[in-house]
């Protein structure tokens, strides 16, 4: 027989329903709440370490680039006559403009360094091996697209360094066999570097390449969540290792979230 609820309990129940209503509404129509819950509470090996934060650190650096890039785009003018002056304006006059531009410029270097460090970590851990080969390939594509962002962004301030580095950079692309001349022509948008080159680089830099990077990051993360992250290979309790030593009694006595439980012991519960 159902217990009678006190008036206070009924009120609490109604409050909870009211607060949860938007989430329930969203979950019923999209399943997104369940997705986020799965993402947050999925299990990762108990021995993951600090080196494995390099991937999310790279994502953070990319987000910094995206946010500061959007703000810069509000003030930057991609024409040969205005580009340089608008960069001066952002740096010297716009409120906090120097900070946003500085973060974008130096964030690019941090982003590239973190991509390399993250790749080094994956290599060190042998984490590119079955079944994660595809995610390694996507990662290398992200690395090259990140470098493309560096190349196309370098021209935009339209100062001497920018201009001549790009002249030579485009000419170097042109030395490739077969596609080279076509590629150089495409990048320059004609025979000479001109205003069309600047708008083309701007479009590549803020639409095409970042769009591709975002799509690939989505795929990259999907595969990370689907396949899981690897244990450090030297770990005594590495997930999936045949060489796992059964944890000593002292460890097993304190099963829990931070203390991994030995394989096959009852703490898992269901079996």
């Amino acid at each position: 027989m159902a217990r009678q609820l006190s008036r206070a309990q009924v009120r609490k129940q109604r409050m909870q329903d009211a607060v949860n209503f938007p989430l329930d509404w969203l979950e019923e129509r999209s399943g997104l709440v369940g997705g986020v819950r799965y993402f947050l509470f999925r299990k990762v090996p108990g021995d993951t370490n600090w080196m494995q934060t390099l991937g999310s650190a790279t994502l953070t650096a990319f987000l910094v680039q995206a946010i500061t890039g959007v703000i810069l785009a509000m003030y930057y003018k991609p024409t040969p006559n205005d580009a340089y002056a608008s960069i001066q304006n952002i740096t010297d006059h716009v409120t906090m403009g120097w900070l946003v531009r500085g973060m974008h410029k130096w964030g690019a270097s941090v982003f590239i360094i973190l991509m390399f460090l993250h790749m080094g970590r994956v290599f060190l851990f042998g984490a590119y091996k079955y079944p994660r080969e595809l995610n390694w390939v996507i990662g290398v594509l992200l690395l090259t697209m990140g470098m493309m962002e560096g190349f196309t962004g370098y021209l935009l301030p339209w100062d001497q360094t920018a201009y001549w580095a790009s002249v030579v950079g485009i000419n170097l692309n042109g030395t490739a066999p077969f596609l080279g001349p076509w590629l150089a022509q495409f990048l320059r948008s004609g025979q000479e570097i001109s205003g069309d080159t600047l708008t083309r680089f701007y479009s590549l830099h803020m639409l095409l390449v970042p769009g591709g990077i975002m799509a690939l990051i989505g795929l990259h993360l999907y595969l990370v969540i689907r396949l899981g992250v690897t244990s450090p290979p030297w770990s005594k309790e590495a997930a999936g290792s045949e060489l796992v030593e059964e944890p000593a009694a002292a460890t097993a006595a304190r099963p829990g979230l931070t203390r991994p439980v030995a394989r096959g012991t009852a703490a898992g519960g269901s079996e």
């Binding site: 299990k43 910094v64 500085g102 042998g126 001497q160």
Partner: protein, 282 residues
């Protein structure tokens, strides 16, 4: 399970699949949830990343703040901007952002025209293909680095060569017009340049040529550009030299050299005369 497997050695793919199934099982039984454990580490690391970026931006700004603020002032991390782009400029040093220095320096090793292709396309393409292919030729299941000697040695070599190339690219000497012009009298005496070739020699020193070409040991060798000490011995002709300066890639398909048409006909003729008169040390 499968009947035919019997006494045979298990296929590598079956071993890999079994290993991954074991991994899934272990994580399920002994893992910890991403939130809050791993996510805590990720959050701390992200805060560090953002702080470092903000700090770099501040150092860039505050150390380049000259008494009368000027964005071209050289701070600890370089100027905020250099002079406005000028396609008709006389002197420039092409330099990419630092993370391209390893490619930039690779082009000092390979010279135009025989092997520059290796520096611009050959080596980088092969390196990229080798990088993408790592999981497809490294098929062993072993993940501990000490038991992967080839991978360990390869990684150390790659890191070392990237570091050395980046360092060499960063410290590569740049030929500044003001310093190069001092060598012109030396050129004239060593190469016994006739008087009509001397205006061209001065122009050569200040027009940025020595940013990529060397001449009697002066200048820096970049982007695979050849040494021009004895270019005149090839007897290419003044008209060829003028055409080449106007549009290098029209004459030498694929040449990465910028066009110098903006120097004007008179100065191009002077440069061409100088180049044709350069027959090496006499």
């Amino acid at each position: 399970m499968a009947a035919h497997a019997g006494s045979e050695k298990p296929r590598p793919i079956d071993e890999r699949r079994a290993g991954f199934a074991r991994y899934k099982q272990d994580v399920k039984e002994r893992g910890k949830p991403f939130y809050p454990y791993a996510m805590f580490h990720d959050t701390v690391m992200s805060l560090v990343v953002v702080s470092v970026i903000v700090a770099l931006a501040c150092i860039w700004k505050w150390t380049s703040w000259a008494p009368h603020h000027d964005g071209t002032h050289q701070g600890l991390l370089g100027p905020e901007y250099t002079a406005r782009a000028d396609p008709g400029t006389d002197n420039f040093v092409p330099r990419p952002d630092w993370y391209f220095y390893f490619l930039f320096y690779l082009l000092r090793i390979f010279k135009w025209p025989e092997s520059v292709f290796l520096g611009t396309v050959g080596v980088p393409t092969i390196a990229l293909l080798l990088l993408i292919g790592v999981p497809f030729y490294d098929l062993r299941r072993e993940r501990r680095l000490l038991r992967r000697p080839l991978a360990a040695v390869g990684a150390v070599l790659v890191v070392l060569s990237m570091a050395v190339l980046t360092w060499k690219g960063a410290t590569a000497s740049e030929a500044l017009a003001s310093e190069v012009i001092a060598d012109v009298p030396h050129w004239i005496s060593q190469e016994k340049l006739p008087p009509q070739a001397q205006p061209g020699a001065k122009l050569f020193a200040v027009a940025g040529c020595t940013a990529c070409h060397t001449y009697l040991g002066t200048g820096s060798s970049n982007l695979g550009a050849p040494d021009l000490t004895a270019i005149g011995t090839r007897n290419l002709g003044i008209q060829f030299q003028i055409n080449h300066l106007k549009c290098p890639s029209c004459v030498n398909p694929g040449s990465p050299m910028p066009k110098f048409a903006s120097l004007g006909d008179k100065r191009l003729k002077q440069l061409a005369t100088f180049l044709e008169a350069s027959k090496g040390k006499q």
